[in-house]
Symmetry: C2
Subunit: 399 residues, 2 copies
């Protein structure tokens, strides 16, 4: 019977799922998972917030249905935070999502019809490609540093599959997977291109708060508001996340967007899951109000040390011909192996012989290129990972 | 610019949202919202469970990422519960959703391409129509009592829009909106038709536990397993929900399905929101293990009284020519007004002149029919609602 023949069979099986299974083996030293260190979660503040929300007048509302756009005090708090980043807005511009992954899924659903084009960087966040893949786009390469693609060339390439460019997606701060941060000029270039193509810009700001050196760049959305005359005239949609600062397990994120976009997302969410959990929204609001800033400081101190440790270990052990990024923040260092190396094949050997895991870079390339690259996460890189794991990985890379 | 022209603009704006806004007016007596009475939520058990989960060894896992299929102990508990309903299965057949609404959205995404046909009852759950609408199906009428549609006629009608029938969706127990429960023979008839069409059956069991009189009918999925030789050979997908028993605000539901379906849903969820909140899954597991049965008893006692009160009030006050359902469970009574009456127009008068709200029945009809019908919810029907609200509504219906 063909009961099981369905749209989702066109989705790619996930390479990350297979990798995650390996991490269950206790002797593996893993640089693979892009996950925060659970020892740094604000357990106590979260426990107290659940207790407070469920003990007082809010208890009924915490367990009852909620409006699809989200809990108003949290939306107001986020509007204030976005204002502090240079994006003047109010609660009508804020939409609560179940993690920023849900934001990416909804934006794919909102913008993409099969054959349309999404502009992404080579490489880019694998989860974004997975979210967008469900809506069957083609991908073209976004090049904030310039390249040989004119707007007309993007349009012509998009027309081949019967669609047109719909948005540019990027992680401008401490990108997953490369750790790269775009400068002001590159951010402006993305807006220039988006303006010429008349498309949206999806700014994935998952790692934004985690800066270990230097000064924060303005969000692309702030630059856009300055050009266009305000958030409701802007084309940039900002996807924020509490996962990296407070807790990924609570699945809380937000979208800041022109209100016409928020209105469409609200209808979409009403049909898709009604609303994100009321209780988690109320708890995140309390925790964010009280410990967000101290939590950022704590994480910045801890992760900066681990990044430094990883960079030192790479310096000490990596063979000639291997290069890597030196990120100012975030969670990832990106390695480039000599031309012709195959990180996917190396992963198998690395797991088997060195008991060290990483993510091969081709997983992050919409075109399958980048076979000689790989991603290392430093958020869980303890002393043993650095002193044993990196030398063992280096021996595998030496061949 | 056409930045905002997108797929979702084809979605219908929701009539329910407009209604919900009216409910904020404090003097309105509302029979509209299909929501549980928050005074009956198990606040204490939920508060204790959050405290326990965040105080002990589970705290890190509660705030960390989780696998997309869901928290294993909860899936095992649900597999046991489904076994008790006659559906022998294990955790590989259980998929955790963020409320059963998410299950409906994913099943729409899994099965429907534009132009495909979904078989639903006239009327059916509005939220299911909203979830499926995103995937642009046509609807045809499911008639468990028999009708003049042969499988060939369903197929021929579906071919006109270039698709074919993909599933039959129904709420077999105390349906939203009619309160109707299908008997064994009708359940078997749905399976017969689905077998002849070789399509899936989506069994929405949101109200199943809330039976106030008589004996539980077997789930359609249990009848299917008995015919087909087991869950993995069955065509029925069961959507369960904790919203009506424990808390809608926590957004927890589940799907019980053949494992091939679960595997596809897991990939879909990984791309769409990674997983439902870890902490809520762990808390729901604790609360379900300890208070699920007593909670059902408490709700059945309370809601049975309110149903009886509503039926008595209708008997005492409704004018001739108005008839209504006498549900054995659930949350709703369904009124049929004389032919030619228009419940949507009456709602406006009822709100303005009587300060009483209900949901007009046409909202639940995929074809827009049922204009002379309306839905009353009795979950929040207190003494005043019955003694004042129903007489005032009756005066409006008398014209």
């Amino acid at each position: 019977m063909d009961l099981f023949a369905s749209r989702s069979s066109r989705m790619k099986a996930s390479e990350i799922r297979e990798l995650l299974k390996l991490l269950d083996q206790p002797d593996i030293i893993s640089f693979a998972g892009g996950i925060p260190d659970p020892a740094l979660f604000p357990h106590e503040a979260v426990r107290e917030a659940y207790d407070a929300v469920l003990s007082g007048d809010q208890a009924k509302a915490a367990l009852q249905y909620q409006v699809s756009e989200g809990y108003l005090p949290l939306r107001r708090w986020l509007a204030g935070m976005m204002g502090g980043l240079g994006v003047a807005c109010d609660e009508a511009n804020i939409f609560i999502t179940s993690g920023s992954q849900q934001g990416l899924d909804y934006l794919g659903k909102l913008f993409l019809s099969p054959g349309d084009t999404a502009l992404v960087m080579w490489p880019t966040y694998l989860g974004a490609l997975q979210a967008f893949n469900a809506y069957e786009p083609r991908y073209d390469r976004l090049m904030p540093d310039g390249g040989n693609m004119t707007p007309a060339a993007y349009r012509a390439a998009a027309a081949v599959t019967g669609g047109r460019p719909k948005f540019a997606y990027l992680v401008p701060d401490f990108a997953n997977p490369t750790g790269q941060t775009l400068g002001r000029k590159q951010r402006e270039a993305v807006l220039d291109l988006a303006g010429e193509l008349d498309i949206a810009v999806i700014e994935d700001a998952a790692y934004r708060a985690l800066r270990y050196d230097g000064e924060h760049e303005p969000p692309i959305q702030a630059l856009d508001c300055a050009r266009s005359g305000g958030i409701d005239k802007a084309r940039t949609i900002y996807c924020g996340s509490f996962s990296k600062i407070l807790s990924p397990g609570m699945r809380m994120g937000w979208i800041c967007a022109p209100r016409q976009i928020v209105e469409k997302l609200v209808l979409m969410k009403q049909a898709a899951d009604l609303h994100s959990p009321s209780i988690n929204q109320m708890v995140i609001h309390r925790v964010a109000e009280t410990v967000f800033d101290t939590q950022v400081e704590k994480l910045v101190d801890a992760y900066r040390q681990r990044r430094d440790g990883l960079l030192e270990a790479l310096e000490a052990h990596m063979p000639d011909g291997v290069t890597w990024s030196r990120p100012d923040g975030g969670m990832f260092v990106w390695l480039t192996l000599p031309e012709g190396a195959d990180a996917t094949a190396l992963l198998e050997r690395s797991i088997r012989e060195a008991r060290v895991a990483f993510v091969p870079g081709s997983a992050f390339h919409a075109d399958g290129s980048g076979r000689n690259t790989l991603r290392l996460s430093f958020t869980l890189a303890d002393e043993r990972a650095l002193s044993e794991g990196i030398p063992r990985l280096a021996r595998i890379l030496k061949g």
